[in-house]
Symmetry: C2
C-alpha cells in the first residue's frame, strides 16, 4: 500500500515529570528531534498550560511533529506526520532518551492512500524484540528499562 | 476505556483543488473549525509549499488541529488531537462543507490510556448511515455526494 504520508502516534508512559513541565526544554527537544530525523523546521509553537503541562507543534517541510504532556500523569503524547525521507523512528528514540519513559507504545497510520502515489508506506515502528512484536497492522510496543541502564 | 485525549485522523479525498492551494483560505477555515468545535485557539502556523500544497497547525488550549494538503491529488489530511469538551466532529463537518471532498474517512485513537483518567473516550466519528458503519475500533467512513446537493 502506497500513501502520501505516514502518521506515527507515540505514547510515552511514566516519564520524568519535571521535563514534561518545561516548555523551553520540550521545545528544544522537539526541534532537535525534528532535525535529527532529517526534517526541515519551518516554525514551532509551544504553550504552557495552567496549572501544568506543555503543548507544542513543530511544523516541518515534511508536515509536523507535535507533543502534549500531562506531568501529573507522567505521560506525553507525541505524533509525527511525515512524508518523504524523514526518519520518524530516530525522532521518537531521541525523545525517549530525554523524556525517559518506562514504556513507549506506537501506532502508524497511512495518510492519503492514493492509487499511484509515490511515497511508500514506511514499515511500522519496529519493536526491539524485548517488547511485543509489531502485529503488522501498524502497532508496536516495547519496554524501556530505566534505572539499570536504558535499553531500547 | 478512559483516555486523557482523543486523536481523530480524517482523510478528505477528491476535494476542490483550488481551495487546497490557498494558505489564507485554509488557515481561515482551520481557525474557524477550531472555534466552532468549542476550542480556544492559542496560535496558528500555516505554510505554503513549492510548487503547491499547504501545511498548517492550529494550537488550541485543548491540543491541536492540523492539516496538510496535496492539491495535485485533491487530497487533504486533517488531524484533531483534543481533550475535554471539544466537538471534533463539528470541525470535520465544517471543513468538509468547504473543502467539498467526495469522500471522508476517519479513524479515532485514544491518547493516554491511564487508569483513573477522567476524560472519557468519545465515541468514534459515527457514519451518517450512508457509508460504512463504525466497526467499533475507531474507524468510520461515509460518502459525500456533491453535485446533487451535499449529503453527509
Amino acid at each position: 500500500m502506497n500513501s502520501l504520508g505516514r502518521h506515527l502516534l507515540a505514547e510515552f508512559y511514566d516519564c520524568q515529570a519535571d521535563v514534561l513541565n518545561s516548555p523551553a526544554r520540550i521545545e528544544a527537544l522537539m526541534n532537535e528531534a525534528a532535525r535529527l530525523s532529517g526534517a526541515t523546521v519551518v516554525q514551532s509553537v509551544f504553550h504552557m498550560f495552567s496549572p501544568h503541562g506543555v503543548s507544542g507543534v513543530v511544523v516541518v517541510e515534511e508536515s509536523h511533529l507535535a507533543v502534549h504532556t500531562w506531568p501529573e500523569h507522567s505521560y506525553a503524547a507525541v505524533d509525527y506526520f511525515s512524508c518523504g525521507e524523514v526518519d520518524c523512528d530516530t525522532a521518537v528514540r531521541y525523545l525517549a532518551e530525554h523524556l525517559r519513559p518506562a514504556r513507549v507504545e506506537t501506532k502508524v497510520a497511512p495518510r492519503g492512500v492514493i492509487e499511484g502515489s509515490e511515497a511508500p508506506l514506511d514499515a511500522p515502528f519496529a519493536s526491539n524484540g524485548e517488547g511485543e512484536a509489531s502485529n503488522g497492522e501498524g502497532e508496536a510496543s516495547f519496554s524501556l528499562k530505566n534505572g539499570e541502564g536504558n535499553e531500547r
